[in-house]
Symmetry: C2
Subunit: 338 residues, 2 copies
């Protein structure tokens, strides 16, 4: 009992209080604390002035974030870490502070208010389809906030697709911020993108298509709307299913995949970006824990294993599927041949 | 940029979503998931039956907690870790699941709803004195919930006091669950304990005094009430200030310490249990981060360094203070000589 490896309540205490970490980081992003430090405001007084905040509050928050690993402190001076300099200083092109607005949005957090009740029921306690309700405004926030965080994956997918040198017609399903299709168009000047999502969400994607100079080769399906009900048309070389299937149960996934299969040319492929846990479902950490977000927010969604995806695609008429790592990223791409 | 140490959004993502860890652990405690597994329910079906929950929900939650380090998984079977077996199985005498009820209480979490606003202001956004409002019912929850988590510290303090062999009169200020004074009495059959706290809180302590068989040497001050206004009496050998001073600004601490000094015999000592960060304020992790809890919940509280405590005690008339580690625990004891 007195040995080094004796049981300790430390991990339990840190998990019970982990919500404070989210709150501290969100608060720092709201205050532009990282940007202030990146601009050269290094001590409590200078940061407090820049952030229009109390010195007591800034000192406590900056110390907290130093312990959390997002700042360094030397003498009385704080500095950014490589992570916070790249991702939390608003002046950085890779700034992802806005992702925090989505990840800590009341709508998303509400799903975690009663996990015991959620586990008893086996799905979200929210009314109807939870976060999947039509035109849920959360997805406009998502499209705006999560785009920068998804950029590395969006940039990696054209390589996996291997279609950077040929004229391809790409269907971008539940396009959100649109970056996945847009990066296909950026990388391949002959690619034509057709994006599907709720109208208000696609307004965000349309802005992004303009911003990246590919608006002429990017279009919305007439009428926009729900991927389950809208007519995709046909003759696509590639269908993108990025961060979409995890919101639904397997039967619902198969139904949409049949529709996707019908929209693809013979020899066409679906590219599915997903959190894919190993068969043990407890590794790697990020994909394995993603399942709880789906339990909390959806009726039947999940983080599916590759074997589960493979079966869904087969049941929808696809021939075979392969899984590809995206180096340094927590998600994988599954390529499925129509 | 392609090296191993390239900046990564991983830490930032994990901090933004850390609230999900607290929610998952709270949910598992509410469901008695750890107790169920400890009783021998190892697979999803058996655990779900015992917890009266869906299999989908149990599988997702148990996998999540496996990744979090509180369960192991082998084949389809889950098992407790040494930490969860000792602290999260209700049948264990060291069970601290109830601490989670306090650490995730809405009253405490509310303080973290707007950290940006809290930092701007430099103190709690709650009305009045925040968690220090008289008879705040949160402290009854605290007295009930946190007692098991405080037990190791309560058991360590009599050794630090070094008064286990002599008749001593002990003043237990803001006694809460009462365990600190009670353990002094348990360890020293000649010790007499006088406890101060709000009346409803002391009802919890009184129960504990009976439970540990020291009720005959344990009493409440007539009238109970606020440590700032109640008459302590005089002639104490030891005054206990456990997890109390961190709620107040330094001037307020000095005012209560003057009162404590006046209540002690010449040669008497104050024993202060606290989260004491190093002078850098960013180590050790738990005491350093504790400051944010005080910012969020109080008007002027803090995690004070030893130098700050030493100065407060000197300003209140104490001669000198020393700091003592409690092996394996995140808190320290400061001994101050009257």
């Amino acid at each position: 009992m007195q040995q080094q490896k004796a049981p300790s309540p430390e991990l339990i205490f840190s998990l019970f209080t982990a919500y404070q970490q989210s709150a501290a980081l969100k608060g720092a992003v709201d205050l532009e604390l990282f940007t202030a430090i990146g601009e050269g405001n290094k001590d409590v007084k200078a940061i407090a002035t820049r952030c229009k905040a109390s010195e007591r509050g800034i000192r406590t928050l900056a110390d907290y974030l130093t312990v959390a690993g997002l700042l360094t402190k030397s003498g009385g001076n704080y500095d950014l870490t490589p992570d916070s300099a790249m991702f939390l200083d608003k002046r950085s092109p890779a700034y992802i502070g806005s992702a925090g607005q989505f990840l800590t949005a009341p709508e998303l957090m509400k799903g975690f208010a009663d996990i015991a009740g959620t586990v008893r029921k086996g799905g979200t306690l929210a009314a109807g389809d939870g976060t999947m309700e039509p035109d849920n405004p959360m997805w406009v926030e998502f499209a705006k906030g999560m785009a920068p965080m998804m950029m590395p994956a969006a940039q990696a997918i054209p390589e996996v697709a291997g279609t950077t040198n040929q004229a391809v017609k790409v269907l971008d399903i539940a396009a959100g911020h649109g970056l996945f299709g847009i990066m296909m168009a950026v990388r391949n000047p002959s690619a034509q993108i057709v994006a599907v999502d709720w109208a208000k969400v696609l307004n965000v994607a349309e802005e992004n298509a303009k911003k990246f100079g590919v608006a002429a080769r990017w279009r919305r399906l007439p009428g926009d709307g729900n991927a389950f009900t809208v007519d995709f048309g046909a003759g696509y070389d590639v269908a993108l299913l990025t961060n979409f299937l995890h919101h639904f149960d397997a039967a619902t996934c198969v139904s949409i995949l049949k529709k996707v299969h019908a929209a693809l040319k013979p020899g066409g492929r679906a590219l599915t970006l997903e959190f894919v846990p190993n068969a043990d479902r407890v590794s790697p950490p990020v994909p394995a824990q993603f399942s709880l977000i789906m339990l909390a927010g959806t009726r039947g969604g999940d983080a599916y294993t590759f074997a589960e995806f493979d079966e869904m695609f087969k049941n929808a008429g696809f021939k075979k599927s392969e899984v590809h790592d995206l180096p340094g990223l927590p998600q994988q791409v599954i390529t499925s041949h129509a």
